[in-house]
Symmetry: C2
Subunit: 541 residues, 2 copies
């Protein structure tokens, strides 16, 4: 293309870059005074939070309706420190800023002063330990600042009460933490360089799709001495929010962090293709599918999340998410399995099937799984010990030794319980009530999440809570309590844990054995069982 | 003592043993017909459950009040099988029993027939897989029984519909699972032997305190061929429910399981003292103490549990159990700590102190803890990669990259949130809302529990849920999301986890890195940080 065109493009891009910068600044709500609408991102965040939960977790959103609508987030303008270790308040940061800008030589050109870090200069440990709330005033509040003025970095102590600003010895060399402004502006720096734009276009990437990131700052050779330099690399954001999956490989731009000038372009990856955008996006939108609906599942949208109802540990209007059908068939989160008590094995899981989110079909994961034996050889040759070779399942009956579970203490509130029906020695049946419980396990953990980094200005916050299904029984074989959990994950993974409490010596010195049993499960196979031992404190409540 | 006395003692003990057996039978509710009050233990269990929760977890009991009072537990008399794999019902067990007792040669003396196991004879896998609910009838219901008649063991197939009983080939040798009746009666068998009683008395143990348990059954030498034998060992239950801690060492009784006869007593441990009962009991009763009340704490009762309010994942009338005082001081379950956002470290935990349940005093566990650095060297020498040596905290600011947490998806319902207040490049303050959340973590796990084995007849079911405190922040550094959890256990243990999500390739093949950071914490020390890597599925929800 002719030069005038590329000049026009350059102007267009310069404007575009400036615009991006503005947008990102507002997205970052970099302050224009604490009272300006610097909460746009925060409100957006709240919205994203609830909308993300709308799309992902209906149980979250029903609650969203119940909680009182979010007011304007706190400005913290009126915050005051109440503990020696409390961080700098809004007021203290403003005060420190004034003192720094008034400090010679910065006073000559305050706009040339860049704050790389400004934080509480914590009091001596002795002073913190001596402080008593209510009785003592706070120790003198000080701030420590890392600033740069006309390319020179310095570390300063700021006495917030007295107003004194005193330099502290600064390391002979070093790079302060990048400011957010720097990180943001570096994202667009390469686009100001025609040679960069040309090589990007040669690779078939539209400049409007280019997303760059600063990598590591440092010293990159003698000719670059005494400059703050950083290498920047770029990606194609065409067709996906997950541009990290589409690197423009081998293209590295060396940028002067102070001037924004492109120092050098290393362009070695022209032959390396950019990975396709297909199926790289991770966002929930458009990926939702109806559970058990192959048509919807086969739309190729991809991720195929399972829907979660309210985890049974949540106060769910709809009740527990675990379905117990015909007394023994458990349905939950794409899983269907048959669960029953057994006099010898304790608990038997059969026909465990999980829905494949991509096809909607139920995949057979496990036909039958159970504890085959629990062998406890004491391996002591002495007369009183050599014969202690317990087989807790085969000799005692792992199910026969299973006691009724204690609601709320052995299993959470919304657990469903299964009884055992066994035959006594004379053949008559008897009932072992609440021998098995099954519940949704939600520990407040996150299964998957991604927030887009502030510097890219993309407002993405996707987060999915981790919820699993647990089937539990507990056998008390003399002084051993075996808590057996079968845990089913929505990704088709099955975890089996055996937590064993051994008769405790006096606390707090005593220990609890934890035997974690892992099963290797494949379609229609039996499971191989291994035991691991770990030590944990007794009073672990 | 003279012989008449010991004879009287013997008679007394025989009666006592019979009484114990009766008590235990009822405790076990070994059946006297399904309609008899065989639910005594079950009701007791329910009571124990709620009372145990009364004493341990008030939050459980408030709910206990809300749930409708427990009706008489189901008899399962009317249960019918609805799936090919459903276990034998009460009706089917009764039917099988009739068929077995009518089966020659058992019919000649049905009371001599002992049922060691009676369970569903599962249909062939093909039949189970072919079965369609609603469309197909259940495959023929069969039972398989392991029985003993006049000392002879056999395995029988029972056709519940046709009524046919057919022997199955039985292993040439082997020991069927002990019946509960056997296990119970073996507990008192040694007490019928004067020599046993004499040696127990010589050790200063009252016979009324003796608790015996059957160990391993087996073959114990040529002179004992063709007999079912088992070795029994005993303990002193004086002064503790935890009699397992008080073994009568070296005393081993060989018992004939069919006749109850004591065959041999091995008595080699006369010189071995029985451990003291002091501080061996594990029951909650009498151990409760007021949090923060040294007087109550120093009563020597021992265990010193911390009280738990409703875990924040429970619908608590009293609200979350986490106290947030003066904006940054967190109080929970004996812990007190200072928590704040930091531009570089992300989250700083200071002055973490936990109450010592034995003394009531707060112990200093950690003065300050934080992520010192997150170093991500790519270690690839090529031109485009060699410089990728991210220091996510020092260069980018782990806190500067922390985005607002998404309520309900990033943190559970009752989480409390802390904002970050940072300085921008021009020194002005800005707010990063909801940057840290703190919540009680309850995953339905059991911290500690013990049920007393049915065969001892002691109605003990103590179970304590595991509840912890979690402080969480998430930094999104480009395509890495670091979920940083500080977890505080009531036993004073601190766990630090860093869960890292790496920009995902398309599901379901993609993986998530999980870096678990463990800190070694001692009083007033900084923490040593190690990173481990484990692979986990992407769609792990």
């Amino acid at each position: 293309m002719d030069h005038s065109t590329s000049l026009l493009r350059l102007i267009f891009l310069a404007l575009g870059a400036a615009l991006v910068l503005l947008v990102v600044r507002s997205a970052l709500h970099l302050p224009r005074g604490i009272d300006t609408p610097t909460t746009s991102l925060l409100d957006a965040a709240a919205a994203a939070g609830s909308s993300s939960c709308t799309r992902f977790a209906p149980w979250g959103c029903r609650q969203g309706g119940r909680t009182k609508p979010k007011p304007k987030p706190p400005s913290h303008e009126t915050d005051v420190p109440r503990h020696p270790l409390d961080p700098l308040t809004v007021g203290e940061i403003n005060r420190a800023r004034e003192l720094l800008r008034a400090h010679p030589p910065f006073a000559s050109s305050p706009s040339s002063l860049f704050v790389h870090s400004l934080a509480l200069d914590e009091p001596e440990k002795a002073a913190v330990l001596a402080w008593r709330k209510g009785a003592d005033p706070l120790p003198p509040r000080r701030a420590v600042a890392v600033v740069r003025f006309r390319g020179e970095a310095s570390v300063l102590a700021v006495d917030l009460a007295g107003g004194a600003v005193a330099p502290l010895p600064v390391p002979a060399s070093g790079y302060p933490t990048m400011t957010m402004d720097e990180q943001v502006s570096l994202c667009s720096a390469p686009l100001a360089d025609p040679a960069f734009n040309a090589t990007v276009r040669r690779r078939g990437v539209r400049l409007s799709d280019v997303a760059c990131l600063p990598i590591s700052l440092g010293w990159y050779g003698p000719t670059e001495e005494n400059r703050r330099l950083i290498k920047v690399q770029c990606f194609s954001a065409e067709g996906t929010a997950n541009f990290y999956m589409r690197p423009i490989e081998g293209l590295t731009v060396l940028v002067d962090m102070d001037t924004g000038e492109v120092i050098h372009i290393s362009d070695r990856g022209a032959g390396i293709p950019i990975p396709a955008a297909a199926n790289t996006d991770y966002r929930y939108a458009g990926h939702m599918q109806e559970e058990g609906d192959p048509a919807a599942a086969s739309n190729g949208a991809g991720l195929g999340f399972q829907k979660v109802r309210a985890p049974s540990m949540e106060p769910a209007a709809s009740g527990p998410g675990v379905e117990l059908v015909d007394g023994h068939t458990v349905r939950w989160g794409g899983w269907e399995l048959h669960l029953k008590a057994d006099a010898r094995a304790g608990m038997v899981v059969s026909r465990a099937r999980v829905q494949d989110p991509r096809t909607g079909a139920r995949r057979e994961v496990l036909y039958k799984g159970m504890a085959s034996e629990l062998f406890v050889p004491y391996m002591d040759p002495s007369e009183a010990w050599y014969f202690k070779t317990y087989m807790d399942a085969g000799e005692y009956g792992f199910g026969l030794q299973a006691m009724p579970l204690v609601p709320l203490n052995d299993c959470p509130r919304h657990a469903r319980y299964l009884d055992g029906v066994f035959a006594a020695a004379d053949g008559r049946p008897y009932v072992r009530e609440n021998m098995i419980c099954v519940f949704e396990r939600y520990a407040g953990d996150v299964a998957w999440r991604h927030s887009e980094s502030p510097i890219t200005g993309m407002d993405i916050r996707e987060s999915r809570p981790k919820v699993t299904l647990v089937a539990r029984m507990v056998a008390s074989v003399a002084n051993y309590d075996y808590i057996v959990d079968w845990e089913f994950q929505m990704d088709g993974l099955i975890r089996i844990k055996v937590l064993c409490r051994y008769s405790p010596p006096p606390p707090p010195f005593s220990l609890t054995h934890i035997n974690v049993a892992t099963f290797l499960c494949t379609r229609f196979c039996k499971c191989m069982h291994t035991l691991y031992i770990k030590m944990e404190r007794y009073l672990d409540v």
